[in-house]
């Protein structure tokens, strides 16, 4: 198990390093003076000089990359010359808002999606199963920002049941929760369908296996068979794919934050794109990518931990 852990972490690290390299090299792939590219037309000559010195843009490429990588490893993502604050500080300030949104979305998606998937598997081809099937495909296919916009339109603007803007910061806990409901709904809806499909497929496969037949042949109560004997196995592929689905969640969260004017990485990145502030964009992309890579890695490791077969085969 430890060997697997080490291998997996190593792989993740290599990917992150490559990601950093890629993001950095993209600057140089663009025609024109890198500093102007990075800072856009609004920058002053002083800003440009500061950045040029900071980044050592006169030095050879491998020096720049190495220098940057070392900085990243120490948590230094460069300076934002417009506000004169470290990029990492700016990004990490916004990160918690996005994380809360994502956790809330995952939370309700699991609460509804997993039981729905189980039910669909047990009552295969029932009306509920078929309806869930169509619903699942539908909600994953429709872009999350469309769902977010419709939710905003219907519930916040027309019906005025829930607030339309912001995160309710400075208000009470209830206030914050009210501001969280619609965005979490929009982000999580796609996942409800995704999860239920996954769980259903997994459960169906497991329920058809011989050892489930054995469990039933020994008269074990049905809820034991379903949850202890079947779901425990079926949940593995679900967890593995949860890691990959975080990517969808991140993208959806970005749009939700913009649509509902919530603070977070999404809003940060959007504003930075508008001002052509690449260092912040790069920093945000980097942080979220690390987050994504880490979550995929963690779910792979959990997967390995749950299944004794994998645990010992490596």
């Amino acid at each position: 198990m430890w060997i697997y852990l080490v291998k997996r972490i190593l792989l993740a690290t290599i990917i992150v390093i490559t990601a950093v390299t890629l993001l950095y090299s993209m600057i140089l792939a663009v025609p024109g003076d890198p500093v102007t590219v990075l800072l856009g037309p609004r920058s002053t000559p002083e800003m440009r000089d500061t950045l040029r010195a900071q980044m050592g843009l006169d030095k050879p490429f491998y020096y720049q990359i190495g220098h940057f990588l070392l900085n990243v490893l120490q948590g230094d993502l460069g300076m934002d010359v417009f506000s004169n604050r470290p990029v990492s500080t700016i990004v990490f300030e916004q990160l918690p808002h996005t994380i809360i949104l994502i956790l809330a979305s995952i939370g309700w998606a699991i609460l509804i999606g997993v039981p729905l998937g189980c039910y669909s598997a047990i009552h295969r081809n029932s009306f509920v199963d078929k309806l869930t099937g169509v619903f699942s495909v539908g909600t994953i296919a429709i872009p999350s920002f469309v769902i977010a916009l419709y939710a905003l339109l219907i519930f916040a603007v027309e019906l005025q049941w829930l607030p339309a803007i912001g995160a309710g910061t400075g208000g009470t806990l209830v206030d914050r929760i009210r501001h969280l409901i619609l965005p979490a709904l929009a982000v999580g809806l796609g996942w409800v369908g995704y999860l239920s499909r996954l769980v259903r497929a997994s459960m169906l496969e497991v329920l058809g296996e011989n050892h489930i037949r054995t469990a039933r042949a020994f008269g074990l109560p049905e809820h034991v068979v379903i949850f202890r004997y079947a779901l425990k196995i079926a949940i593995l592929p679900t967890i593995a794919l949860l890691g990959v689905g975080i990517g969808y969640l991140l993208s959806a969260a970005v749009f939700a934050e913009i649509v509902f004017a919530r603070p977070g990485i999404g809003k940060l990145i959007y504003e930075s794109v508008m001002t052509r502030n690449y260092p912040i964009v790069m920093g945000s992309v980097l942080i979220t990518t690390i987050f994504f890579v880490a979550s995929t890695m963690i779910s792979d490791i959990i997967n390995a931990g749950l299944d004794p077969r994998i645990r010992e085969n490596l």
Partner: protein, 293 residues
């Protein structure tokens, strides 16, 4: 020789007929097909369908709701929304087709290189593929847009870069399977050249999965374009992308709900249609693919 050709043509024609009839019996798939036909049809026949010029401004009639005169109402510049939507289908599909084609070709080449080339090159290519796939798509797209500036070409570039890894992996996997196939080794021993091997053995095996994945990718591509345009960093105004209509709708959400409603409908139709169709096709042609991605 021509008898064999005739037989082959006949089986192909009946295979197509077979496919269509099986699709007919799959209600969701058939529904998807209808939606796809609507979208593709409006893209092709846009010029004839649009009642107004999509970019013609008419301030006096701004922000109207649906009426007999304007089926989906007007936007903040008085442009007819229905016309913009219909023309938008052309944009969406154009972007999709161009980028998927480009991505498929590059993916094919890179996948072949990775599969057939030296191991160190393979590892590098795979690493790049995995790295690209580890970026959340919209983030990566925004990074590229920040550097290159917003435009239709940027959107295509973004889509191409983010989808090459998917196709490349499939091609590479097939190439590796072929490489070690004993049958192939025998042929190579007899001196058959690479081109023959590729076209005879690999292409038939990958065309199916690639096409199915491409068709299921299309909604994703359309979504990226719409998403970027919605954020204002996709196609440039006044080009009528569905995303830009949504952008306008968002800005004027308190004035009228109809822009958002109208902008969302074509996206919903396109994504649902292609997804339902793609799923049905996959179930019919190769149920084994259910497990991947």
């Amino acid at each position: 020789m021509s008898e064999a050709v005739n037989r082959k043509m006949r089986t192909e024609r009946s295979a197509l007929y077979n496919l269509l009839s099986r699709l007919y019996h799959n209600p969701l798939g058939f529904f998807g097909l209808i939606l796809v036909v609507i979208v593709v049809g409006s893209a092709i026949f846009a010029d004839w369908i649009v009642p107004y010029d999509p970019i013609a401004i008419n301030i006096r009639e701004r922000l109207q709701g649906p009426s007999a005169k304007h089926l989906m109402g007007t936007d903040q510049l008085g442009r007819d929304v229905f016309s913009r939507i219909v023309m938008g289908s052309r944009i969406a599909l154009k972007v999709a087709l161009v980028s998927i084609t480009l991505a498929l070709s590059c993916g094919l080449v890179l996948g072949l290189i990775a599969g057939y080339g030296p191991p160190w090159l393979d590892k590098i290519i795979i690493l790049i593929f995995d790295t690209i796939r580890s970026f959340p798509t919209i983030m990566f797209a925004l990074a590229i847009v920040t550097l290159v500036g917003p435009s239709l070409e940027t959107v295509i570039l973004v889509v191409v870069i983010t989808t090459i890894p998917v196709y490349g992996r499939i091609v590479r996997a097939q190439t590796q399977a072929i490489k070690n196939n004993e049958f192939i080794l025998a042929e190579r021993a007899m001196g058959a050249n690479i081109i023959r091997i590729l076209s005879l053995h690999m292409l038939p095996n990958i065309i199916g999965p690639l096409l199915i994945i491409a068709s299921m990718d299309l909604p994703g591509v359309v979504t990226i374009e719409a998403g970027l345009s919605f954020l204002g960093v996709g196609v440039r105004p006044p080009t009528p992308s569905w995303g830009s209509v949504l952008n306008d709708g968002y800005s004027f959400i308190r004035n009228t709900p109809w822009l958002i409603v109208s902008g969302g409908i074509p996206l919903i139709i396109t994504t649902l249609g292609f997804t339902f169709l793609g799923e049905a096709l996959r179930d019919i042609l190769d149920p084994k693919l259910r497990k991947d991605i």
